[in-house]
């Protein structure tokens, strides 16, 4: 049985009910139907206790609040009095329609009436149902403590003796997790049909595998990939983990409709699109209605373009203490974790804000002692005000650096993985708006005053930019103007940049080399830096992958002597129809894949080494997704890592020995099986021949029962004619001339 979300949740949610059949809930359901007339009533608690005389005053005061969500009147409010002519602190209210009553519960519950009193509003039926006598037990019964059950180790995969990596493979309707065995076929860990409905996703440190179902998100983990956590967001479409795996954001285009009896979602979540979950407890922290990104202005004659969903809607700071969301053009809301309260109770108003990015690591700026996280954002030109890129320190919300820019069409913010630099890619148009150019403005975050360096040697538009992970080099892809509607891709140019060598700090960024006339559009850095794959993906006509080494151990070109890079093309590999390229978390292997989600031609995945040697090709029907299991950060200190690097030769000797041994074993095994198979086959043939001879005897058939009677005019058979030589005469007219004689 496939472990679909359906069956799991059934088991989980109804376990108790299966044990003892309790008909009372059915009964109560039945009763509710009789009481349908009370749908319009709500009960208001938490009112001040007033003497009978001021009752009308209180009711009038209360009505203002009550009428803000629906229609009711003075007559419809009933506030009973005690014998002592005092009110009791509650009132019954009848609305015109049941919908208004529901709205009152939703919106007025928890609303303060004055400083001392807070309203609590419930449906009359709910009070009947849940609070009726007998429903609440009189005596306290201590809840039963479940016996301790040992859980599977969530990081067991890291203990693999050969330090192999795992990956998830989604093809057809099956998802499997496999060990990578280099060029040998991968070893299966689990393979389940219908494991997910939409896609699978690893958590950022590899602890969980998330599957996405119409009922919600399911997390799996441990050595047997058992069920870990469940987040019932109906019709969820997109999910996002926080960087330290503490929280999960889920999004669905459909607003949530909370139904009664839902154990996890409450009225809080009704009508919302986004939920931020606490992974540990499995409970929603807070839910939101999603803001759509304003679509670009509709092109003439076009229909209004579809609104784009803003995703990830919530961006996490590196230590996941803060999460920020932008309301495009207006403000940034920063929430504090773990309680998801708005930082400082207000959003930061920034006119025109267009994009925000957190620093991917906690940076320490020079001269700054206190804790801070950096948030970078930009806003376009508005009226005569220039476009602005700014950096905000959180939690102080102080703007620590801004830069004004002119003639800006678009801006993209690219942080370096350690937060040491941020590159602001500025697309500029000329005054006539006819030609475009790109500036790269690089902020050195760690240096005093955050100096900015401008790299503006690029005439063409930059279509892709990528920093070396943990490094200070980057690759950009530029393209000339594309002819509108042209079928062929415009040619692109790939440029490599590196800082000048200048003592211990990185000097100015300089162009190392530009490779012209490419079609490349994707940049894929090794997670350990140094190696980078520049590829053409999602293309019909080209599908090349260039493997580059930025620190080639060989002769260096004369002109690049003072740059901190030695660029070398290692290999070019082609993979027809490639759509995705993924480095394994150790930077040893690269997988290129062609997914059926993009096209249905030659789907499958190929495994390459980091220098472009193809290890295996795996054409797979209906291949959808390949995903390496991420690894958490190393536990070794910097010194220990250095030590390992120093003694690499020693270690590699050991591993080479192991590899050779493994190959030897494998080869002998192959030869042995082949021998066995061949012998079995020969024995089978021999036995068949014997059986056939026996049968011929038994049936009294002549030796040549299977030979046909020769044709009447056939040449006499019998003597072996051996090979026949067919001689063929071919006459060819080489030349033809006509001569008139005489």
């Amino acid at each position: 049985m496939a472990p679909s979300f359906d069956t799991l949740s059934e088991q989980d949610l109804h376990e108790e009910e299966e044990e003892e059949v309790d008909f009372s809930d059915l009964k109560s359901q039945y009763e509710v139907k009789l009481e349908e007339g009370l749908d319009t009533f709500v009960v208001i608690d938490g009112l001040p206790i007033v003497p009978g005389e001021s009752r009308q005053k209180l009711i009038k005061f209360l009505l203002r609040k009550l009428n803000s969500v629906g229609h009711t009147s003075e007559d419809a409010v009933f506030m009973p009095l005690t014998d002592k002519n005092m009110s009791e602190g509650f009132a019954f209210v009848e609305y015109e329609t049941p919908e208004q009553a529901v709205a009152a519960v939703k919106q007025l519950n928890g609303v303060p009436l004055d400083k001392k009193h807070t309203l609590s509003v419930n449906k009359l039926m709910d009070i009947e149902r849940y609070g009726r006598e007998g429903r609440v037990e009189e005596d306290y019964k201590a809840p039963q403590v479940e016996p301790f059950k040992e859980k599977e180790h969530l990081r067991s995969w890291l203990g693999d003796a050969n330090a192999r990596d795992e990956f998830a493979l989604y093809r057809g309707d099956k998802v499997g997790v496999f060990w990578n065995n280099k060029s040998n076929p991968p070893e299966n860990v689990v393979d389940r049909a219908h494991w997910t409905q939409l896609f699978v996703q690893w958590s950022p440190k590899g602890t969980f595998l998330a599957s996405v179902h119409p009922q919600g998100v399911q997390l799996w983990g441990g050595s047997s990939f058992s069920k870990q956590k469940q987040f019932p967001h109906p019709f969820v479409q997109l999910i996002e983990f926080s960087p330290l795996e503490g929280y999960l954001t889920t999004w669905s285009a459909r607003p949530i409709q909370v139904e009664e009896g839902q154990p996890i979602l409450t009225y809080e979540e009704d009508g919302k699109n986004i939920i931020v979950w606490d992974i540990e407890s499995g409970k929603p922290l807070r839910s939101f209605v999603s803001h759509d990104l304003a679509a670009g202005p509709p092109a003439e004659g076009d229909v209004q373009p579809k609104k784009k969903v803003q995703w990830p809607a919530f961006k996490w700071s590196a230590d996941e203490k803060y999460v920020a969301r932008m309301l495009q053009g207006q403000s940034i809301s920063i929430y504090e974790l773990p309680n998801m309260n708005l930082l400082g109770r207000t959003s930061v108003k920034i006119e025109g804000v267009s994009d925000i990015e957190w620093s991917p690591a906690t940076v320490s700026r020079e001269g700054i002692k206190q804790y801070e996280q950096l948030l970078c954002f930009w806003s376009p030109e508005i009226g005569s005000n220039p476009a602005r890129v700014a950096m905000m320190s959180v939690p102080s919300k102080e703007i620590v650096r801004t830069r004004n820019l002119f003639n800006v069409s678009d801006v993209k913010l690219h942080w370096q993985s350690q937060g040491a630099y941020i590159c602001v890619k500025v697309d500029r148009h000329s005054k006539s708006k006819k030609s475009m150019a790109t500036n790269l403005e690089i902020f050195r975050v760690r240096d005093k005053g955050v100096p900015v360096e401008v790299v503006d040697s690029l005439k063409d538009t930059v279509i892709n930019f990528s920093w070396e992970p943990n490094g200070s080099r980057f690759v950009v892809i530029t393209t000339g103007e594309a002819a509108a509607g042209a079928a062929v891709l415009p040619k692109t140019a790939v440029s490599f940049f590196a800082p000048e060598k200048k003592g211990s700090t990185a000097g100015n960024f300089k162009l190392v080399r530009t490779i012209e006339k490419k079609t490349s559009n994707g940049i894929y850095w090794s997670p350990k830096g140094r190696f980078v794959v520049v590829a053409t993906v999602h293309s019909q006509s080209s599908f090349d992958m260039d493997f580059w080494d930025m620190d080639f151990e060989g002769e260096k070109a004369e002109g690049e002597k003072d740059l901190a890079a030695n660029l070398q093309l290692l290999k070019t590999v082609e993979h027809y129809g490639v759509t995705d390229i993924d480095w394994d978390p150790t930077g040893r292997y690269v997988v290129s894949s062609a997914s059926v989600w993009t096209h249905s031609m030659e789907n499958g995945w190929n495994m390459h080494t980091f220098f472009g040697n193809t290890l295996s090709e795996n054409p797979t029907d209906k291949f959808k997704q390949f995903s390496w299991r991420p690894r958490p950060a190393t536990l070794l200190s910097k010194e220990e890592q250095k030590q390992v690097r120093k003694n690499l030769r020693e270690y590699s000797k050991e591993f080479d020995e192991e590899d050779r041994y493994a190959v030897d074993i494998a080869n002998t095994a192959v030869v042995e099986t082949r021998k066995r198979v061949l012998n079995e086959w020969l024995a089978w043939i021999r036995r068949e021949k014997e059986l056939m001879a026996e049968e011929k005897d038994a049936f009294g058939l002549p030796e040549d029962a299977d030979t046909a009677k020769a044709a009447h005019d056939a040449p006499p058979a019998g003597e072996d004619q051996g090979e026949t030589v067919v001689e063929e005469m071919v006459e060819e007219i080489i030349e033809e001339t006509e001569e008139v004689i005489g």
């Binding site: 061949l678 068949e688 299977d706 009677k709 044709a711």
Partner: protein, 336 residues
């Protein structure tokens, strides 16, 4: 291995067949004519004209006297190979998809289509090789009706002991050619993946089936045990067992109706060679620009021919390298 290109048909090929001596090659296509070729140089010897519909199948009697063909015009015809005249016509209620002579040539089986209320059948016809070839029995000596899933292909085992048929639902069955009873039925291929071809080894102890499920199976004629499985990445139309060397050749490609919707690269219109015993793919021969519908091997194992949806027959005479190729374990075996 330079192929000889035989271009005599105007439509897609359905079956090709070498005679037992291997000097002649017969081909039938959807264009209603039967062609006879010299296999050595690809010269066309002649045609046999008379069918009114696409010809699905052809077989040569083991003594190369009679040629049998089955067609969409609901007839099986016998031809005098030497003179080219049609010596006998049998009418059936539906199209004939496969004909095959028994090992000694005394019987001919014909597989008929299931259509218009008629169930698929396998009819057995007695063949006489008298002085006058026109003298043939008018009625089949046996009719096997396929009640469950219609037969698509069929052939004779060693000593004509069984008739073995491949079915539309991917199963293979064994019939007794005397009583017509089904002896065995095995779901050899994936359910509902039609078996498109079934060819015997020279000694008829085993045979190979090619199916839409992208695999070919080598099976025992005695008990229908699956001996080997050859998996490919494309639906298979045809498979044959080579003599002299232990190989099998598979042919197929994307279904003809889907070909125009994708690039030629996607089609996989190649003849694939697998090692019969080790099940490894050892080579491919490209050339056709449509799916391969039929492959036959020269009885001496020195050449093979393939016919494609593109209307061409390609005859390949093997090079020295083909005969020299051997696995290390085979070489060892040989030395012993």
């Amino acid at each position: 291995m330079r192929p000889i290109l035989l271009s005599g048909h105007e439509r897609s090929l359905n079956q090709i067949k070498f005679n037992r001596d291997g000097d002649l090659l017969f081909s039938v296509a959807k264009d209603k004519i039967v062609c006879a070729w010299w296999s050595a140089n690809g010269e066309r010897l002649g045609t046999y004209n008379g069918h009114q519909g696409a010809i699905w199948t052809v077989d040569v009697s083991p003594n190369t006297v009679i040629l049998a063909t089955g067609s969409a015009d609901n007839t099986v015809r016998l031809w005098n190979i030497k003179t080219g005249e049609c010596v006998k016509v049998w009418d059936f209620p539906t199209a004939v998809k496969r004909v095959a002579f028994s090992p000694d040539g005394s019987k001919l089986l014909a597989v008929t289509e299931k259509r218009m209320g008629f169930l698929g059948t396998i009819a057995v016809l007695d063949i006489a090789y008298g002085d006058n070839l026109n003298e043939q029995a008018d009625e089949p000596s046996l009719r096997i009706t396929c009640t469950e899933s219609k037969a698509t292909v069929a052939g004779w085992s060693f000593l004509a002991k069984y008739i073995i048929a491949g079915h539309e639902d991917g199963s293979v069955s064994q019939y007794d050619p005397k009583s017509g009873e089904q002896v065995e039925n095995i779901q050899a291929h994936e359910f509902d993946h039609q078996i498109n071809d079934l060819q015997f080894s020279p000694d008829r102890t085993h045979f190979i089936t090619a199916s839409k499920d992208k695999s070919a199976k080598l099976m025992s004629a005695r008990n229908l045990a699956i001996l080997k499985t050859y998996t490919s990445d494309t639906p298979l139309n045809t498979a044959t067992i080579t003599s002299k060397k232990d190989y099998v050749i598979l042919g197929g490609g994307q279904a003809a109706m889907d070909v125009t919707t994708t690039s030629a690269r996607q089609g996989k219109f190649e003849a694939r060679f697998y090692h019969k015993v080790f099940e490894d793919e050892i080579g491919r021969v490209r050339g056709h620009f449509g799916p391969l519908n039929t492959i036959d091997i020269h009885p001496a194992g020195t050449a093979y021919a393939s016919g494609g949806e593109d209307g061409y027959v390609r005859v390949h005479h093997f090079d020295k390298g083909y005969f020299d190729f051997m696995y290390e374990v085979e070489r060892e075996q040989l030395r012993k």
